[in-house]
Amino acid sequence: VIGFIEATISGILMGGLYGFIAVSLSLIFGVAKIVNFAHGALFMVAMFLVYWILVLLKVDPYLSSLIAAGFLFFFGYFFQRLFIEPILRREKETAPLTVILLTSGLMMIIENVALLLFGADYRTVKTGYTGKVWEIAGLFIAQPRMIGFVLSLVLILLLELYLRKTNLGRAIRATSQDREAARLMGIDDYRVYKITFGVGGTMLGFAAAFLVPFYFVHPAVGELFVLKSFVIVVLGGLGSITGAFLAGIIVGIIESLGAQFINSALVESLIFIIFIGCLVVKPTGLLGKQRE
């Protein structure tokens, strides 16, 4: 029973991070309707950034998360500006397949450049809290996971506030609901897209810093997260931030319990089967609104 509870808790904590990454993807997918396959590659870039800052400059990941977040904002912003915007302008409406292929091309480039530069080693870091646990009511909880979960939750609440209370946030939500109408109201939709990409990048930067203390860094690490994030986004409902976070936690629990009691590889395929089932039965997801 203790094993079961601990696996559940560890699943929730990891799921929170999945949810956090998925929220950043959902923002881009939901607002700009862009399937960004390079999302995982951006995440990997952020993880390496945090890793090298830690190894070379001995700066704590939670501190360097600010640097990573800032850097990834510009990375995301210019990523949209340089590659995706020209296509959107040319094809007027979002052409999903052109953009999917474009972003998978960029993913191939970024990942393999990282492979050339850093090699295929699985790198891990040693921080003061790696492997440390808190004992709460007889249960052992890994410290970095707990910290990552709490910080993710706080940042998601901040994002929600930002989207609801600021003008730019309102512009983002308006564009996601109806691009044409938003444009008629004087919103520069391309600028909104760029900023959305930037904000998505910022969140990835934070997520990477939260993950580095207890995970490995590898050029293909993003691939592990990107498909799962799409699953989570669809499960949670497109454009729903709470939905994505909850779906992330659900996926985390399934994974953690499955790894403990069934077989981690089969659970992976179970998640994809659930994904297809969910798409067919209820494409709007758990908390999504009507799409199209």
Binding site: I87, A95, P96, L97, L101, S104, G105, L116, L227, I276
Partner: protein, 304 residues
């Protein structure tokens, strides 16, 4: 033609041209850019190999059996996925490649058959040139077989395109809602196109298995699916010769980088592929053939 290295490269070019042409039926003619084509390729490779190793079924027969199984599997894949459109369709077909890859990676012994999981299956080498074993010491045999297969699929492509049914597919591709509103059963025609596409995709899998004599779960991977799409789209999705042209351009790149860089620089091939993909999407999203054809036609009309 006698140079074995050149022959090997020519065979891989034709193989990928064939594979991309099989994708072209669902992806080009019907306009459904499936990210799941590697599933059929993998099914073809595994079915014929297992029939050959455990029951001594000649791979040429196994190729047909694999094709039929892939076509049946394609109904199961097409049924849910064709309910979805655009990015959702792409993601759901991609999810299928992951499901199959994971199953192939984790499956070991099933009854008398050992799938060998992640290790992959080595096909025992039988010396000599034998059509029964589909193994040839002289590579020229492989060359002519895959050439014949490519010509066959180009004929079928051409036939579908010209048929009434091909016009239905074109209508679905250009505007599915409009096609439905004039009474075309879109789902049925799409599944039919996917079945044909899957059948030939599986044939390519068998050929791959017999040519390289080694198969592994990576054959199901989404990376291979993207490579197939890339070849067809660079050449021009939906055009007859697009996949062939795409393979002619891209496959030698991968052969050369594999030979001269290999090992530590294995990623260079994918960087070049990624670069080509980005450039094509940004500057010629229709592929290479349509703009060329347009220019040629303009030239022709001006003279007339």
């Amino acid at each position: 033609m006698r140079d074995p290295y050149f022959l090997h490269a020519a065979i891989t070019v034709l193989l990928f041209a064939f594979l991309a042409s099989s994708w072209n039926i669902i992806g080009g003619l019907a306009g459904q850019h499936s990210f799941g084509h590697s599933v059929f390729f993998g099914i073809g490779a595994y079915v014929s190999t297992i029939l050959f190793i455990y029951w001594n079924v000649p791979p040429f027969l196994g190729m047909i059996v694999g094709g039929i199984i892939a076509a049946i599997a394609s109904i199961g894949i097409g049924y849910p996925c064709f309910k979805l459109r655009g990015p959702y369709f792409a993601l759901s077909t991609l999810a299928f490649t992951e499901i199959f890859r994971i199953i192939a990676t984790t499956t070991e012994q099933v009854g008398p058959v050992d799938f060998k999981g992640a290790a992959g299956i080595l096909i025992p080498f039988r010396p000599g040139n034998s059509f029964v074993n589909f193994q040839f010491a002289e590579k020229a045999y492989y060359y002519y077989i895959i050439l014949a297969m490519l010509i066959l699929i180009l004929f079928i492509h051409n036939w579908i395109e010209k048929s009434r049914w091909g016009l239905y597919l074109a209508a679905i591709r250009d505007n599915e809602d409009a096609a439905r509103s004039i009474g075309i059963n879109a789902r049925r025609f799409k599944i039919l196109a996917l079945m044909i596409s899957a059948f030939f995709g599986a044939m390519a899998g068998t050929f791959y298995a017999q040519f390289f004599l080694y198969i592994e779960p990576i054959l199901f991977s989404s990376a291979l699916s993207i490579e197939i799409l890339l070849i067809a789209i660079v050449g021009g999705a939906g055009t007859l010769m697009g996949p062939f042209l795409g393979s002619l351009i891209l496959t030698p790149i991968s052969e050369l980088t594999r030979t001269y860089l290999g090992g530590t620089y294995a990623g260079v091939q994918l960087i070049i592929y990624g670069g080509v993909l980005v450039a094509v999407m940004m500057f010629a999203p229709q592929g290479i053939i349509p703009p060329l054809a347009k220019r040629y036609r303009m030239l022709f009309e001006r003279r007339a």
